[in-house]
Symmetry: C2
Subunit: 243 residues, 2 copies
Amino acid sequence: MITIGQLARYAGVSTKTIRVYHDKGLLPEPSRDSSGYRRYTAQHAIDLIKIRTLAEAGVPLARIRDLKAAPGEEFRRALHQVDVDLTARIQKLRQTRRRLRQLAAGQIQMLPSEVTGHLQRLPGVGFSPRWIAMETGLWILVFATHPDTAADLFHDQAQALTDPALRQMYLDYDRAHDLDPTDPRLGDLARRIVAATNSRYGPGDLPGQVTGSAIPALIQEAVNASSPAWQRLDTLIRDQLRT
Amino acid sequence: MITIGQLARYAGVSTKTIRVYHDKGLLPEPSRDSSGYRRYTAQHAIDLIKIRTLAEAGVPLARIRDLKAAPGEEFRRALHQVDVDLTARIQKLRQTRRRLRQLAAGQIQMLPSEVTGHLQRLPGVGFSPRWIAMETGLWILVFATHPDTAADLFHDQAQALTDPALRQMYLDYDRAHDLDPTDPRLGDLARRIVAATNSRYGPGDLPGQVTGSAIPALIQEAVNASSPAWQRLDTLIRDQLRT
DNA sequence: CTGCAACCTTGCCCTAAGGGCAAGGTCAAG
DNA sequence: CTTGACCTTGCCCTTAGGGCAAGGTTGCAG
């Protein structure tokens, strides 16, 4: 015959927790002593430990209450389901921990690993950090807006970079960022881009517009904003595509 | 420039979650388009993924908000602490899963393993299931009421059972449960118990009373209630101790 | 053009599993 | 006889969102 505090310490919970379990019908109210204190038996301790085991496994209290009334067969199946769910939760927490460590290393995965792998190889071929950052943001938006087709689009772009001429063209685009908007090399570059685009995708479609969406235009707008030269380049390209 | 729904799907959360993060100052409110819709950038997506990583690791949202403003050094240390806590949580869940499986097997651990081990060996020496059940309940109450001294008391009792004469005495106590309260063998047993108790603990102390607490008396009361013969036996023992 | 479904907006209330506090009664020890 | 550690009930508070209402927007189909 123990008090609520002793039972609580024994089970490693607070007295409030025990009272809540009484209110919710999980644990029967014990009898009271002469001064109105609750007096618990060993059976209450056993029940409480079982309840806590389920509660710590993530089973909602209402479910635990129902389970106590369930026949043995259903109870056994329910316990197995709880075990499965718990295992899944542990697995998910482990994955969260992996991502937490990526975050700590500043290497958090925002995109499919084939994309991040590709982006990580770009500095080695001469692209600037600014370009990489722009590409990263761009692909995040593409994957957010077109989850279904983004991977195909990405494969197409990645494949384009394996062509030395196309790669050089993108490198020139990258470097054009700091040119004067009146630099004649911009016109040259615009012509090369239009030609390459036409030969790769046919006339009338900029890469990225293949999805038929207006989103890449918005991206382009943001891209242009960061450099007057790029803005000029965009204008030149549009002019030449229109003719 | 994506909508709240696209951002939500990309990050694997609900739109409500994103709005809550705005309200709590975790994620900056993005600009609105002409019809008042929120329009998010890739940077928002990056921030959101980071926030979710911390949130899923169990960091309270208020803490995450403060962390964003923390200097790099403190941030790094905080991340490490989160990692440690998360690892501890995973470990605890694994332990919960172990206890869940014990529960499924009907073998849940209510007492230190040395005690349960001892109790499991009792049937092999001839004690009845009823006796084991009584001992189990008894030890639960003792460990609940006297966590500090219970282990010592238990060791003493377990050691007593290694003496063949004492063990036989406890076996006789067990079997006395079903005797007629007037059976003369009860007087015999009472004498042996008193003699053994006196020689082991000195005169005047029943085992269990060594803790100086009234609790064992309450236990004894409950024990007696289950059998008229045991009740009679208790009376006989008290009589003889008094003389 | 019109409808319809799927979005978006704010505002409000609801939930689970307790925590915390108040105001009062009880118990054991010095 | 007081003091500190218990116990009692009752009430409000918290976290991280979920759900719903009432209304505005957008895009697509017929």
